[in-house]
Symmetry: C2
Subunit: 363 residues, 2 copies
């Protein structure tokens, strides 16, 4: 499937929870099919909204992050559903973000982009649906950040979201995830070229800290098995020296290129927003269980057994609250995987099976 990323400008403004008015924000999205009940896909915090297909005929190009789940005959079947993947507010991949031009100054927002929350991100999606004239979402689904946005959207707009599929998730940001996010923010801000985010105006980009964060991610979002394959290759004399070099290459290969299009202000904006996430938002008096119970959607919730950011009990907690209210409203599975958090993208066989069954049940 060859796909392209599109953009629309919203005809309405978005007023953030803290009262900042984002004038006519832009939304980047991909649409994989045009007819049928709507499936809305949301993405992980560090990735783009490129969920399926490729941008070119080149089969070596990495396809979208849930390509195994979206397409003809796949669980999110483009023959049956209208499948749209949307880019988050604050993301560096096209939607309004610190990289966008501030209409009041004709310069990028940069560090002057407002502090946004997960509630703002979800309201942004609602404005996007309104703009497209979509009144009802049959399924909202996503991994990681997208999984939480899906649950929050179902709590804030219970009559719009009919079903939710939430993978590697929680009802409020977990201690493990919050800590990694604070570490990344702390590291990005330490860069001598960060300059309180004003690098965007000076043109001197802080790449030092971006490289450190991306090297860290190469360790954090992998597994010993991958590292062992690299480690196992060298042979003969000085084998340890060769192994060290191979591992060093793994950590730093193409890192300059990888960070070139990454923006620290966007990362910080997104991670700060994710860290505000709690279904018991201030809108519902901060009552967590009350927030969860606002969800009317049927929910399929899955967490990865080895995920130290979102251990299964965090997803299970949401399921238990939902089911204590309405019997069988939510279904929970633990995904077996060696991959930790990134299992939400890698265990597509397991996910496909559970998603097919869920769709059969709710269709």
């Amino acid at each position: 499937m060859i796909v392209k990323s599109q953009k629309i400008i919203l005809s309405r403004n978005l007023t953030t929870e803290n009262g900042f008015i984002l004038k006519n924000p832009e939304v980047a999205f991909e649409q994989y099919s045009e007819k049928g009940p709507v499936i809305l896909i949301t993405h992980g915090g560090l990735s783009s909204h490129h969920a399926a297909g490729r941008y070119s005929e080149n089969v070596n190009e990495e396809p979208g992050f849930w390509d195994a789940l979206i397409g003809q005959g796949k669980p999110f079947d483009t023959n049956i559903f209208r499948v749209i993947s949307v880019n988050s507010l604050g993301s560096m991949y096209g939607s309004t973000s610190p990289l966008s031009i501030n209409p009041d100054t004709a310069k990028p927002y940069g560090p002057n982009f407002p502090f946004i929350t997960m509630v703002d991100m979800v309201r942004f999606y609602k404005l996007f649906l309104d703009e497209l004239g979509i009144k009802e979402v049959f399924i909202m689904a996503g991994p990681s950040m997208g999984s939480m946005q899906s649950l929050l959207m179902a709590a804030l707009f219970p009559d719009t979201i009919k079903n939710v599929i939430s993978v590697a998730t929680a009802g409020r940001i977990t201690p493990g995830a919050m800590t990694i996010h604070e570490f990344i923010i702390s590291t990005l801000k330490k860069d001598p070229d960060f300059n309180n985010g004003n690098y965007i105006y000076t043109g001197i980009k802080p790449t030092l800290s971006l490289k450190i964060v991306h090297e860290m991610a190469r360790i954090y979002y992998t597994h010993e098995e991958t590292l062992k394959k690299i480690w196992d290759m060298p042979e003969g004399p000085d084998v340890q020296k060769k192994r060290s070099e191979a591992i060093r290459n793994y950590l730093t290969f193409m890192i300059e290129q990888q960070v070139q299009d990454k923006d620290p202000n966007c990362y910080i904006t997104l991670l700060n927003a994710i860290n505000t996430y709690n279904l018991g938002t201030n809108l519902f008096n901060g009552n967590y269980e009350e927030g969860v119970r606002r969800i009317k959607a049927k929910a399929l919730i899955m967490n990865i057994d080895t995920d130290s950011e979102f251990p299964p009990y965090w997803g299970k907690e949401v399921v238990d609250i939902l089911n204590s209210n309405t019997k069988d409203q939510a279904t929970f599975f633990t995904v077996p995987s060696i991959w930790g958090h990134i299992g939400c993208l890698r265990e597509v066989g397991f996910l496909a099976d559970k998603i097919r069954n869920f769709i059969k049940m709710v269709l």
Copy 2:
């Protein structure tokens, strides 16, 4: 137990594997008792040789890293054994290292300290024993780096080392550990003030990268349970904001003070040395199994079930090779723990039990 760290200057030089001559190196050590068969304790790569007791009467002072295992009536019983803990070559805690004065230049070695290997570190310990007139070590024991030095010492000096206790270990540096070490080295070298290690002469210390590495270690060597305790404390409105602040404080609390006495050249020297570790050292034609089989000592080997750097199968591999050669030469246990690698310091109850039984058997 009030203890003090001592130093001796060796009367012999150490020639490194790569042919550099370290003239009359210094050894820092602590001695907890003076009579009986010798127990030699070695430390983890990022810690000092302070293994037991306190330096002052202040009970709030953190005791040595294996304080629960060393002392009167404890498994390494100071009433029965002569217990000595020794500081590694290259360590910033007193033994000869990049911080030491190079006798040829009257300045610190700094970046001109030679590249050393684990074999060099172990030969350094042997010179130390010779200097003290110790011909036989009843038990050599340590966590992490110390665990591997103990095994390598038993392979290089099989008639000197009678028994080995090796915790969170392997017979060669694992992919997971090697990767973390390369990440730390890579991060330290990226610091704009690192200056190829010459910061030691300019007086401008690269603290930026040290802070990042230590913040990373606060995540890496902990568990969600600790983070959750911090996360759970805040209440009321804006609870997520308060949680983020609490987690940020956890990551950065006293970090300036913590890195003040840390030295990047020493870290790099130690981590590079650890990454050369392989019982099948070039000395034994690089044959791993042959290296392992050089060990004559009885061995107690324990790995932590949740350790992603040293998963249990790495320790088990050594035990299997030893026992295929000599029945019951080695005993293996998997330590149950939520703590991952750092379980080698935290699961002292489990360790104490197994060490007591092992000592009964070999005494």
